[in-house]
Symmetry: C2
């Protein structure tokens, strides 16, 4: 098997600079011929030329108030002791806001300040300065003045100002047309019946929405199979039609990756392979003077490839540059290792806890698109860094506005499906609020509280000696920290089994059977502690369980593994089994609490959660998940002064 290799492993800035310079010199980065568009249709478009006023605004001397127009000269010398009288209709003429001043009049007295001495005579007790309450010609804009420069993205106020200047159509840069070519024999359209190996072709829709949001027109093409000639024809045709062509994917160096070869055969490959993670297999090319980019197949890689390399091209063709992302400093909550030699883009969740913004990394898999959905920001770990230590500050590029992040309640700890329901109801009741949950197990949650990284932790830690939950662990792991322990739910834990229980598993004792493959939860998870407790109770040796080391981080992941046949059994909550229509054998009820440090207790972060927990609709929705009892939901089970 002959193995092709990447041509390059360039730092991305260098790759981008090389690419943009090449395109610039080739004239491929210039906007197309300007389009004349009506101003009122120009929202979001970019001016191709400066916009100059044709008329002044106002184009006549206008009264700025409702009142009486006067000649200022008539009022000179007026005082309390020597008032002047003006005849209404001759020397003082009623005007409303916006009315033109009568010929020869140069000031306005506000109606509130007019003093009538007879029905048609007013008295003036001080001189009126010229141009008082008058909007003189050109106050807003003078004819011939520049209202907008070139390369300016039109906002609503610009539309008003340009029309006010008498300009009804303006030249804007054409929206670049970006062809998106999904390639891959394994791709199927959304909605198709799925066989193993089929991949839903969703990338082109995401990429299309990205380029659309930048001001370009996406042209989404049919799926091309992994075949050199078909792809070559597709790229050739797309180059005819579009200003920029994206091929997704086949950009790697595998057996069926034809994109680089196709671009090379039609034009030129400038860069193949960039030292970033995810997103390495990017191809930057050019065909007949048009940018053609090979975009990696994994969705997070594709997203990053577009952000880094296609966004500047699209903005360039609009005569402008991408807006700088909003940035903040955050404290990294866990050690974040990153290999030397690549710049890694780590997705993080953020939350304001006390006076710090805490960044917690989420999944780093290039295929985990939901990590990007849930992320609040991205930390770039530079090529020459091995990462950040826990507690270190790092710059974060925001994916959500900083204001929203300040309204986020951060919960770190054990996972429970009821938290998703809580998040959803919270958002409906307080649209500005978000619940951000990171799943690191119960003990991980207490550790996060100790480090001041969360507003609360979800915990279900069984004390093997007392049979009680959480309190003894809190005393041990959070010494000296005052907390409130509030119940969220009681839930049923048990064995999650394939539907119909084909292996005839009847309890934990069957886990040591040779033919049974288990899927475990990670160390520190309350569910794992429960398992170990029960195994010990029953005298079963964990080493005898096949799959004891196969760890997943959530109940749903455990259930998914069973559903997919990767394991025959896993320990988890009934709701997870029920969600995936699996069998379930209960082994007992456990208490799942929220542990809240006293310092956060009386803050909106927690008050809002407690309000939602008290809502009957919330409780009903959780009950429907199955295996939940909410008899103590929202009740303070313990606090240090009790």
């Amino acid at each position: 098997m002959k193995q092709k290799v990447y041509l390059d492993d360039l730092p991305w800035e260098e790759a981008l600079e090389r690419y943009l310079s090449y395109l610039r010199e080739a004239g491929s980065l210039s906007p197309g011929r300007p389009e004349l568009v009506p101003v009122e249709k120009a929202l979001g478009r970019v001016t191709a030329t400066p916009v100059y006023a044709i008329v002044s605004s106002p184009h006549y001397h206008a009264s700025a108030m409702d009142g009486l127009a006067v000649r200022s000269a008539d009022t000179y010398g007026a005082s309390e002791t020597a008032p002047k009288r003006l005849k209404v209709g001759e020397e003082a003429i009623a005007v409303d806001t916006g009315d033109p001043l009568p010929e020869g009049f140069d000031a306005v007295i506000m109606i509130e300040d007019v003093h009538y001495v007879q029905p048609d005579v007013i008295e003036i007790i001080s001189a009126v300065p010229p141009w008082q309450h008058v909007r003189v010609v050109g106050e807003d804009v003078v004819a011939t003045e520049m209202i907008l420069p070139a390369s300016h993205r039109i906002r609503p106020v610009d539309i008003g100002a340009v029309l006010a200047g008498g300009v009804n159509s303006i030249y804007v840069h054409p929206r670049p047309r970006v062809a998106i070519l999904p390639t891959g024999t394994e791709l199927v359209q959304p909605g198709a019946e799925l066989k193993p190996g089929d991949i839903i072709e969703y990338n082109s829709r995401m990429l299309g929405a990205m380029v659309e949001s930048w001001g370009a027109v996406p042209l989404r093409k049919e799926i091309t199979a992994d075949n050199f000639e078909s792809l070559k024809k597709a790229v050739h045709d797309a180059v005819d039609e579009a200003d920029v062509v994206l091929v997704n994917a086949g950009s790697s160096a595998g057996r069926e990756d034809f994109t680089a070869g196709v671009i090379a055969s039609l034009g030129k490959v400038l860069v193949h392979g960039v030292a970033i993670k995810p997103g390495k297999p990017v191809i930057l090319g050019e065909v007949r003077g048009k940018p053609v980019v090979g975009v990696p197949g994994y969705p997070v890689s594709a997203y990053l490839g577009l952000e880094l390399f296609v966004k500047p091209v699209v903005y360039g063709k609009l005569g402008t540059v991408p807006p700088a992302p909003e940035k903040i400093e955050a404290v990294v909550s866990r050690k974040m290792f990153s290999p030397l030699g690549v710049e890694e883009f780590v997705r993080v969740k953020l939350g304001q806890v006390g006076d710090k913004v805490i960044a917690t990394p989420v999944s780093r898999g290039a295929g985990v698109l939901t990590s990007l959905v849930r992320a609040d920001g991205i930390i770039r770990v530079p090529r020459l860094s091995e990462g950040y230590n826990a507690g270190e500050a790092a710059p974060v590029e925001l994916l959500r506005p900083a204001g929203e992040i300040r309204e986020t309640t951060v919960i770190i700890g054990s996972h429970d499906i009821a938290l998703d329901v809580l998040a959803n109801f919270l958002r409906q009741k307080y649209p500005a609020a978000t619940l951000s949950s990171a799943h690191v197990g119960s003990l991980g949650g207490l550790a996060a509280l100790r480090r001041g990284e969360a507003h609360c932790a979800g915990v279900h830690l069984l004390d093997e000696e007392t049979g009680d939950y959480n309190v003894s662990y809190i005393k041990r792991y959070l010494p000296g920290i005052k907390v409130y322990l509030v119940n969220l739910v009681y839930r049923e834990q048990g064995l999650i089994l394939a539907r119909g229980n084909p292996k005839k598993i009847c309890g934990l004792e069957d886990l040591v059977r040779e033919d049974v493959r288990f899927v475990n939860r990670q160390r520190g998870a309350g569910t794992r502690i429960l398992l170990d407790y029960r195994l010990k109770e029953m005298g079963l040796d964990p080493a005898r369980i096949r799959g004891y080391d196969y760890e997943e981080y959530t109940h749903m992941a455990v259930a998914a593994a069973v559903k997919a046949g990767a394991a025959d059994a896993g320990l988890g909550i009934r709701a997870a089994a029920q969600a995936l229509d699996l069998d379930f054998i209960g082994i007992g009820e456990e208490r799942y609490d929220l542990c809240v440090p006293a310092g956060h207790w009386d803050t909106p972060y927690i008050r809002r959660l407690l309000e939602v927990m008290a809502m009957p609709e919330f409780q009903e929705e959780v009950r429907k998940l199955g295996g939940y009892d909410l008899r103590d939901c929202g009740r303070v089970m313990w606090h240090n002064d009790m």
Copy 2:
């Protein structure tokens, strides 16, 4: 004349809270019936219900790499001293990224790590852990998991993740339909021939673009004349058709302001008049369960009225809240007085000068829409404050991203039209860069440099004794500060006169004539100093000039006053006369320089300007304005060590 009054003068937060509570209780703030839309058309829409995955992603165990799939159990015990061999095609099966693992296989060896000992036999020297390089079922999303909560605005990545979860259509809140009713007998459509008193109806286009950018559908209606019955019918019909109705304007309390009366006759006026400036005459009403808002007529007031009162309603009907604006702290460059009792929204220009962000107020007129176009942010002066002193820090809500503000070169000082051309070329050459110029006259510019508020100042200050420009003023006003003085242009100053010179003005001596009305520049302007110098030289008493106290701040404003007949003559540059097609009598050439403190000299703020000033296209464009000589453009005329 019977004078109606505002009902209210409420703090805006109170007015808003009263309004939203009322609407909420009336059910008028709830989103309409959810719409089912294809996910790929859902960009920017807001979810009406949570979105749950229907299929897992991946929905099968997928190879995460190109390589060979193996059974991990087959590799246990392998080591360098005891390697294991696997038969390709039986025990090791070639897979590409995304391929399903063959039945019974549970790990992948990357192609780069495969060691062939025979064409169809590979050797393994360490055990392969289960699930190595495998994307297990549900790694991204598990079927039944919540992908998005309700009330979430769809971004491109969400489209990808939802489709990946097997969901092709989602329920979103309908876009609220917002009817916009322009009212006013004086309004004419853009493009109409303008008579004095005609006002171009541009507000509805601006307001339409605003609500559109928030996610609503604007329904722009025909102009209604100022007539109670016509307006009543228009509002009645609009309430039938739309979810929210905006009446612009007639919201004040004048003779022809019918909006409040109309709303009261059809429904209810909850608030009329809010303690804000600009924007006081806002009407918050309700007709048949629908919000009806009277929006003030001045464009800046209209903009603010919408931002404060309509935006929360539109977002509310989308099940969410407006995003919090980005905020920064800035140092106020000049005393900013604001009346007690109203919250004033002061538009400011911003620039990063040294380590401070400087805020300089622009025009505060409610009719000056270009002030909003040019503003970078808004400072809110609270009701119980009389404003800010120069040098005080104030919070600013940004209208442009902070990143752009950091790229802004701040020039404060005398006005020259060439600065607009410079701004335009700068933006074209450096799309991220902006030139922000504030016009306070030459001496004002030097004062701004002294206070560290600008990167440079535009100055043309004639030394009456030496005939030289600027240097003696710099020595006097910037003692101890090192600066560079770079020439921008020489320009012709002279009398700007009505076309055809009807008053037969031949020189400065005619300014003292009884029948000649003059328009002056403000104190501290170089042009004013030039005038005073020449008057003194000629022995003319300024007190004899009619209009000597009528001050404008720019050459264009002076020219506009002459053009409109508000004055017969003004002193200014030839380009301003030429732009408005006026007569001009030159009185001499003067030098216009940029004064740059040495600390800013070698920064991008100045380097970029100098680069643009060296461009022949820039110089040509300035020459075309008329009256300019660029023989020294970009030349350092003086610096302190010379």
